[in-house]
């Protein structure tokens, strides 16, 4: 199996705080890895390092065989990296459709076109419809995304990450703050993701995490505490003590 993402002793300091320490991980094509860990373990920081929004203070990051350690975020996205945010990060005053279209055309050459209306392009519109319809949001396409319910916004969050067709996808707590019913919807949405995509999933909902993951990584104080199959992690006493105990 080919390796999509490789982290080698990646580290990030904030002043005196070691948020991520000597973190090494590889993810193969189509693999689904859940990252769990208590609050402040450094999970989101890790995603920011992979996506390029933060520069690592040490180590090396490889995406699809290329060294991207110093590459700006938009070029990593062009290589096929997508992500969602723990704190919903959409375009609040733009409509649902505009949000989606921005994501759909993000990596197409037409994103540079400044002399022809976006609305005149048929294909991005079809793609947006294909993304929104299953979520039941096509009818609400003209509403500003800020007017959607929180649960709907979390779904748009995932739709935006999926729109450009990523090969590596980082999902930062997609179910956080959702009701049980909403969590089931998002859970199903994630289950339906193509198996070709490599997924890194940060998740506090253990049901979702254990169900989706092929492999689990337990993070604690910036380090990997355990890395194993979901069953093994579930039985690991240190994990139970440090992670499940403190959560």
């Amino acid at each position: 199996m080919s390796i999509r993402l490789r982290l080698e002793r990646v580290a990030r300091r904030f002043g005196g705080l070691q948020a991520v320490v000597d973190f090494s991980l590889t993810a193969s094509a189509g693999e689904r890895i859940a990252i769990i860990g208590p609050n402040g373990a450094g999970k989101t920081t890790l995603f920011n390092l992979i996506s390029g929004e933060l520069a690592p203070t040490g180590g090396r990051i490889e995406l699809l065989g290329r060294d991207v350690t110093r590459m700006p975020p938009h070029r990593r996205a062009a290589l096929g990296l997508g992500r969602t945010y723990q704190l919903t990060n959409l375009f609040p005053r733009l409509s649902v459709l505009e949000n989606t279209l921005l994501a759909v055309v993000a990596l197409r050459p037409m994103r540079y076109v400044a002399w022809w209306p976006l609305a005149a392009y048929r294909d991005p519109l079809d793609r947006a419809q294909a993304l929104l319809a299953p979520l039941g949001l096509w009818e609400r396409r003209d509403d500003p995304v800020a007017e959607l319910s929180y649960g709907e916004q979390r779904q748009v969050e995932i739709a935006l990450a999926m729109a450009p067709g990523p090969t590596v996808l980082l999902l930062d707590e997609p179910t956080s703050g959702l009701s049980a019913a909403e969590t089931r919807i998002v859970h199903a949405l994630l289950q339906g993701l193509p198996r070709t995509i490599t997924v890194l999933l940060i998740e506090h909902d253990m049901g979702v995490a254990f169900d989706l993951a092929d492999r689990m990584v337990v993070m604690h104080q910036g380090r990997i505490l355990a890395e194993d199959t979901p069953e093994a992690v579930r039985r690991n006493p240190r994990v139970q003590e440090i992670y499940l105990g403190s959560a």
Binding site: E53, P72, A78, R83, A106, L118, A146, E147
Partner: protein, 339 residues
């Protein structure tokens, strides 16, 4: 998307064109003069709106490009006898190139830093112009620039002829701006206004978009500058002062940042107010100063915001769940410097 809105806009646009043309035949000369100024400042305000309203980048140095283009065209025509078209083209080129140079210095900043840096660059450009007496005439400016005689059927020396010319040029520019705003590029600018970080991780080179928006904006400001200098026949350092930059920003805000036509309405309103009031009071500057304060205190979302509020009230949903247009960026924007 905006299809129904566009359909509703056609009759309005038609009425606007008819009204604009009626000015030529019906209005007294004084008002035709004001109408030319309204066109010039509308174009200038709309160019700034591309940055302020769409990209969310509030520039306080926009007069630099307007002034540089006006000076360049004026100097070429006055000192070197260059004919209208080449002088106008050179003026636009100078203003746009200045935008291209300054853009490099500001495209990585956002929020209050962007405002501060554009302000400083604009002010230094103004100071430079003021002291470069041999080229710019210093405090006295450059008087005596004459209007060209083109083959348009109506002599431009007559203000009605010039009005038609300005209407044509401004109309073309506004149409181009409308295309830019509706294009994928224009949508990307709005995305950057809403969330630069998301745009980056989606794959947009945010710096490049901000830079391009800055240059495009400088281009249209330069066209306005050239239209102005040939109308006015005179250009001075006053045309690139902070007062102009701030006033254009005020026009955008009064009209409603991020609404396409709002800034033109704001510009027209201010041009007429300024000229009508300054004919009755010496203290026009104080009135303008008070206007800044009043606008901030009472109607920060501008005319467009007012229209939205009225519409909502009519539609029976007075409460506002969504913030009205992108007028007053908050501290959240201040975290500064992207890549």
């Amino acid at each position: 998307m905006s299809r129904p809105a566009t359909r509703r806009a056609w009759p309005v646009l038609g009425a606007l064109v008819v009204a604009a043309l009626l000015v030529v035949v019906a209005a007294p000369t004084y008002y035709v003069n004001l109408a030319v100024l309204a066109l010039v400042y509308s174009l200038l305000a709309m160019s700034l709106n591309l940055l302020m309203g769409y990209a969310g980048l509030t520039s306080f140095g926009h007069a630099a490009f307007f002034g540089a283009a006006a000076y360049a065209a004026g100097i070429l025509s006055l000192r070197y006898g260059v004919p209208f078209w080449p002088a106008a083209a050179a003026g636009i080129a100078v203003g746009t190139l200045l935008g291209a140079a300054y853009g490099i210095l500001v495209a990585g900043s956002r929020g209050v830093y962007f405002l501060l840096i554009t302000l400083a660059l604009g002010q230094v450009t103004w100071g430079l112009t003021l002291r470069w007496v041999s080229m710019t005439g210093g405090d006295n400016g450059l008087p005596g620039i004459t209007r060209p005689d083109l083959w348009l059927g109506w002599p431009l020396a007559d203000v009605r002829g010039y009005y038609l010319f300005a209407l044509l040029i401004a109309g073309i520019c506004v149409a181009l701006l409308a295309l830019v705003v509706a294009s994928p590029f224009g949508h990307a600018l709005r995305g950057i206004r809403e969330s630069p970080s998301r745009m980056r991780t989606l794959g947009y080179p945010v710096w490049g978009y901000a830079y391009a928006a800055f240059v495009v904006s400088a281009f249209f400001a330069s066209v306005a500058g050239v239209l102005y200098v040939y109308y006015n026949g005179f250009v001075s350092h006053q045309n690139m002062q902070i007062a102009v930059s701030a006033q254009v920003a005020l026009m955008v805000i009064i009209g409603g940042a991020g609404s396409f036509w709002g800034p033109a309405a704001g510009a027209t309103l201010l041009v007429f107010m300024q000229n009508l009031l300054s004919s009755v009071t010496q203290r026009w500057m104080s009135v303008l100063g008070l206007l800044y304060i009043v606008v901030v205190l009472y109607q920060p979302s501008g005319l467009a915001g007012l229209v939205t509020q009225i519409r909502r009230r009519r539609a029976g949903r007075p409460e506002e769940r969504v913030a009205t247009p992108a007028v007053l960026p908050t501290a959240g924007d201040r975290n500064g410097w992207g890549r």
